[in-house]
Symmetry: C2
Subunit: 197 residues, 2 copies
């Protein structure tokens, strides 16, 4: 089947829509307990139609991690080009990551549960995740000699920042009292303040 670019982008949009529904199911039920049937129901598709977009759950999981990491990498590269100081860079990247995790991924752990991926795909994801973590660490590192940030082990500080954000998969509920943007702002303020001189 030859796909035109219109068809291609229609399929991509549909895949993103499925991703969002699947992430919600993964959050509610856990990845192991979620079946293709649950995902189909969540996005209002017949199971047969879902298989047109994704072969299996692993493929959805991979697409989920790959797409969110692409988004985070894009955001990090955009932030790196901005003509703003290190504190503002850090604040922006934190807001972007929180919004990606809480909004796009519905607070699910899908982007983190890499153990369910086959080794070949896992390797690709780990490479992208390492690249993203390096970009965040670079922001932390660059602020230190310039005197904008206090001098601390940049690797440990980066792990603390990423950890505070990643742990949100344990407590965030999309129907909770706080909006994703509000949470993102408090986290960005708190975590940036932690390094600012």
């Amino acid at each position: 089947m030859v796909q035109t670019s219109n068809e291609r982008s229609r399929i991509d949009r549909k895949r993103l829509e499925i991703l969002r529904g699947a992430a919600g199911e993964f959050r509610r039920r856990g990845f192991e307990a979620t079946g293709m049937r649950d995902i189909a129901r969540a996005v209002g598709l017949q199971p047969g139609a879902l298989y047109y977009y994704f072969k299996n759950k692993q493929e959805i999981l991979y697409f989920c991690q790959d797409t969110s990491l692409d988004r985070l990498l894009q955001a990090a590269r955009r932030v790196a080009r901005l003509r703003v100081g290190p504190a503002e860079r850090l604040r922006r990247i934190i807001v972007e990551q929180m919004k990606c995790m809480l909004d796009e991924l519905q607070g699910s752990a899908a982007h983190i549960e890499t153990h369910a991926l086959p080794p070949r795909l896992l390797e690709k994801i780990i490479r992208k995740r390492d690249a993203y973590e390096r970009l965040v660490r670079r922001i932390v590192e660059e602020g230190m000699p310039r005197g904008a940030f206090v001098k601390r082990d940049p690797k440990l500080v980066t792990l603390a920042i990423l950890g505070a954000m990643n742990w949100s998969i344990k407590w965030y509920r999309p129907d909770g009292a706080k909006a994703a943007q509000e949470i993102a702002d408090v986290f960005a303020d708190f975590l940036t303040r932690g390094v600012k001189r």
Copy 2:
């Protein structure tokens, strides 16, 4: 069998020793994949002797979570009685929690993997964990009206602090380049600075 208090404390010491070995195995292999045999080998006991101290893996897991939460609660209450300011209180509780997680628990997720507990035990653990989180939040809250800390949603700030620490189960290795005390100090400094005015 009637146990004298001497026997009792000998058994308790042995149980703590087993706990440490088990936590190391849980970290290396994951809780699901670890068997009583692996734990016995790690602590240099015959499997039969291990069963004298713990009926099964769930019992070790419960003892692990219960003991570490008791330790955290004790530390939090000790800190609450100190005649020091909120920033110093927060710094100390962070150091205590990090050392408990990295040293006692060998950086394992055993204290967090509550889904493996039967409901009755799970409920007890959740009650203790909530009590601990309240004590940490109280430190954060108390610093705000006094002007020691900036005014931010104390619940979100507490979640960020606890999350940064808890995420260490994903990256900490007891044989890594950084000692637990060094990591604890950097985390305490960074996270306290995040709220200090």
